[in-house]
Structure formats: C-alpha cells, structure tokens
C-alpha cells in the first residue's frame, strides 16, 4: 500500500473509532446522526473500518465487564484519593413532542422502503445504575421522579410511552414518584411488584425477601404465591411489608406499622438502631463499609443497643460498645473483631 493510501486508511480508522464513541452519547443531535451516515457512506473502506471499530467496542465491553476492580482503587493509582459522596445528577432531557412526531413519521417512511423498524423505535430510557460498597447515588428520571440507591445496589430503569418500570437487581432503593396517571410506576424486585401513583417509598431487596416501606402516599404490592391468585396488599404511610423470595413462603401479606423515617435514614447516611441486636447492627454497618466488623460471641451478638450513627463510621459503633459495655476490639488487617471482656 502506498504511503498516501496508508495515511488515508489510518485517518478513516481514527474517525471510525471516534464515531463509535460518539454514537454512545445520550444526547446525540439529529444533525450528528446525519453526519455519521454521510461519513459512513463515503466508501466500503469506511464501512469496513466502522464495523471493525464496533467489533473492538464489543470486545472491550466484554473485557471491562470481567474487570472487577473498584473505580476508587483504579484512580488511586494516579495518586488521587477519591471519595464517593452522594451526588445529585443532572436530569435527563425529556423528549419533546415534536421530536416524537418526527420519529413516528420516520418509522412510516422506513416501513415503505422495507427496513425492519424494531431496532429503530424510540430509544428507551433503559438505563442501569449501580452503586458500590459505601456509595449512595440519586438519579432524576425523565418523568420527574427520583431514585436513590443505597450501598451495593443495582437498578434498571425502563421508561416508555405507556409505563414506567424499574427493576431492582439487588440492594435498596428509595423512590419519590411523580404523579402521572397515564403511566403506572412499577417497581420489580424478583417477582414482587410495587405499584405507585404519587408516593415516597423504600424497597429493599435482600437475599431471601423484599421489604417495602411507605413513607408517604400509598402503594399496591403483589407477589405470586402457591395459591391460585397472587397475594396483594395496599400500604399507606408508615407501613411496611416483607415478601419472601420463595413462592411457597408467601402465605400472607399483612402490613405492619413502622417508623418509616428510620427505614430511610440511610438517605442521610445515618443508621438508627432502636433496641437492635449487636449482630443486626454490625450486619447493617458491614453493608456500607469495606472495613468490616466481626462478632463471634453469641452472648455479645444478642446484646441490644440503641443509637444513631453515621453509616460510614463503624469506629463510632466500636467506641460505643467498648466504652459502654465490657467489649474488647482487636484490629486486624481486614476487619475489627469484637468480643466480650473475659
């Protein structure tokens, strides 16, 4: 290949790489989209380099998915220590009506030239949000609702013209749902479904159950059971229901009254314990902190405590226990071991 030809090919290759990155933007303008098609149609070499770049993008995604490193650790290599404060993210731009109508027209046009349109339909709000250990995150949805993720949580949000659906793959999420009578807001946690109109509620997906707590408004909770019909319950403010993961165990759905504020204190990075067992308090702290607490002594585990703590300060709990009880703390590399003084 001549030097000029090689230079040209490299230029196309670079442009193709940049295009793949551009096309993954959330806010791609219509003009940019047209620019891409114009660029792509310049020659078969453009198409070839573009497909090559997409293949590399796919492979890179695969490799990234298998990398379990925490972002904090990766960035620390650069010499900066990074914190994960809860942050308010800028709201996504809701689609304007005129844009929606242009796409409808486009869909009709493309039907005429015989192109399958399934992949051309309105881009969904199918987004995934993940928090790592000790991280909280607030996301504003296009409908005005807010979703707050607690530590180690993962949700998928799908907004369409007719429904608003959120899937909790794990963890704990607080919802502030904006009223939209035309579109029901549904939260899925395993096979439990929580439906809300305008309300504030918390959903905690645990390994063996889902716990729904309502702070304001009303929600309807349904879950399949081994009976013929799914079980349902309607909850108001200050009520909570715990739905087991296994169908056979879903026998009743009677809500109980709770201090809703306590259930959502995590939103201010606070943990509130009221006559909680030490085992329970330790387990709760361990959700938020890489530095874990360990209690083996069953007598200590069963002791009760009350208090308000900052979620990222397990040392405060350790201080509390060592100063007010006969508890000894031994610090090790990865954990703090608590035991009763002999």
């Amino acid at each position: 290949m001549s030097a000029t030809a090689e230079r040209e090919l490299n230029a196309i290759r670079e442009a193709a790489t940049e295009w793949v990155v551009q096309l993954s933007s959330h806010d791609l303008t219509e003009r940019r989209r047209a620019e891409f098609m114009t660029w792509l149609r310049r020659s078969p070499a453009h198409v070839a380099e573009y497909l090559d770049a997409e293949a590399a993008w796919q492979a890179m995604t695969g490799a990234a998915t298998q990398d379990a490193s925490a972002i904090r650790d990766v960035v620390r290599e650069a010499g900066d220590v990074v914190d994960f404060p809860a942050r308010v993210l800028p709201p996504r731009e809701p689609m304007s009506r005129t844009r929606r109508m242009t796409w409808a027209a486009a869909a009709v046009f493309l039907l005429a030239i015989g192109v399958p349109i399934a992949s051309l339909l309105l881009r969904s709000g199918a987004d995934v949000y993940i928090t790592h250990l000790g991280e909280t995150r607030r996301v504003n949805l296009t409908d005005g609702s807010t979703v707050e993720l607690n530590t180690q949580s993962k949700v998928r949000v799908e907004m369409s013209a007719t429904a608003r659906e959120v899937f909790i793959d794990g963890g704990e999420v607080f919802f502030k749902v904006a009223k939209d009578p035309a579109r029901p807001f549904r939260v899925h946690s395993a096979s439990t479904v929580v439906r809300a109109l305008g309300t504030e509620f918390n959903v905690h997906r645990q390994t063996d159950r889902t716990v729904v707590t309502v702070v304001e408004g009303r929600v309807a909770v349904t879950a399949p059971s081994d009976e013929s019909a799914p079980l349902a319950a309607e909850l108001g403010a200050g009520q909570r229901v715990s739905v087991p993961m296994t169908r056979a165990a879903v026998v009743s759905m009677a809500p109980s009254s709770v201090e809703a504020a306590r259930a959502v204190a995590w939103r201010e990075q606070r943990l509130i314990f009221e006559n909680e067992s030490v085992a329970g308090a330790v387990a709760e702290f361990n959700r938020y902190n890489a530095r874990q607490l360990r209690v083996d002594d069953p007598k200590l585990r069963a002791q009760r405590i009350s208090g308000v703590f900052k979620a990222d300060r397990p040392d405060a709990l350790v201080d509390f226990l060592t100063k007010t009880g006969n508890v000894r703390a031994v610090e090790q590399a990865s954990a703090i071991h608590l035991s009763l003084e002999p």
């Binding site: 098609m37 960035v75 399958p116």
Partner: protein, 182 residues
C-alpha cells in the same frame, strides 16, 4: 429477547438483534483483516446504505447500520450453506454454527489478554472505560465525576478503544483459520 412491551434496551448487540444479529456477532468476533469475507461484507453493506434517500430521517443510524450489516452477514451465511452442500472443500475455513470448545477457549483467552491491555492504559483512561462500559455511567456523569469536559471523556474512551482495536488486529492477523490458532 426484548418483548414488545419493553422498548429495545441499550444492552449490547446480543439483545438488539435476532438470529441474524448473532451471525454478525460471530462474524465480527472472528473478523480477519484483509480477508475476502470481510471485504465482501463491507462492500455489500456500503451498497445498501447508498439506497437510503434521506439519511436525516434515520432515528438511530448506529442500529440501522448494524442491522444492515447483520442482514448481509446472515444472507452470506445462508448463501454459503447452499454452496457448501455442493462443495465439501469449501467447508474448511468457515466459522462453525456454534463455537466449539476450542473456539470458546480461544475467545476466553482473547478476553483475558484484552483485560491486560486495559490494565496498561493510564488510570484515568482505564477508569473511564470501566465506568462507561461496565458501570453504565453516561459521559456527563463521568465528566462530572472527574471534573473533565465531555469532550475529554470521549477522547479517553477513544484512546482506550484504539488500544483494544490495535491489539485485536495484531492478534487476529496472526491467527487465521487453516493456519492454526495460538
């Protein structure tokens, strides 16, 4: 498979496409630079893209382009299958219907080595790749996190992508079917 009620997700190609999409995936995964198949595919896709009168009307050009490529790959496979019935010699050198254990092992190794490539990137670049591709953060969110412009975030991502792409071209060029795999 995304149901009709749920709009198409932005998960990778596997969920966006039907069976013909898997052909494209397989094709791209085994993509060999300078091979006849690759050139034929690009040529045919190019011709079909030219048929679109008004490009401004296409809502999602990426999906569209990949859909066209996927259809061409599928038809190519169908054509080959018919041809192969009459010429057993041509059976050599064609990607199998399903990747056998040898192919899977090779793909796994490629994925591992690509992971090493990621680790050679500068920390910010690597973090951005993870945040976007693994953690599904948007460019704006990543930009806010680092205090960078969205343009810089894209530059980092392009750099990472170029590194992965160079690696793949080097390793795949070194291993064509019929010449044995490393």
């Amino acid at each position: 498979m995304a149901s009709k009620d749920n709009p198409a997700k932005d998960r990778w190609l596997a969920e966006l496409f039907d069976r013909s999409g898997r052909d494209l995936l397989r094709f791209l995964a085994s993509r060999l630079p300078n091979s006849h198949d690759a050139e034929d595919l690009a040529q045919e896709v190019y011709l079909r893209l030219l048929r679109v009168d008004d490009v401004g009307v296409i809502r999602d050009p990426r999906s569209f382009a990949l859909r066209v490529a996927s259809n061409v790959a599928h038809e190519h496979r169908m054509l080959l299958r018919n041809r192969l019935e009459h010429s057993p010699e041509a059976l050599e050198g064609q990607p199998a219907e399903d990747p056998g254990p040898y192919d899977r092992a090779w793909q796994a190794q490629e994925m591992r080595r690509l992971g090493e490539v990621l680790r050679t990137l500068n920390p910010t670049c690597r973090a951005i790749v993870l945040m976007h591709r693994r953690d599904h953060m948007t460019y704006q969110e990543i930009a806010d996190f680092f205090g960078l412009s969205v343009g810089m975030v894209k530059k980092h991502l392009s750099f990472g992508l170029a590194a992965c792409r160079d690696f793949l071209q080097r390793t795949r060029r070194a291993s064509r079917p019929g010449e044995g795999r490393p």
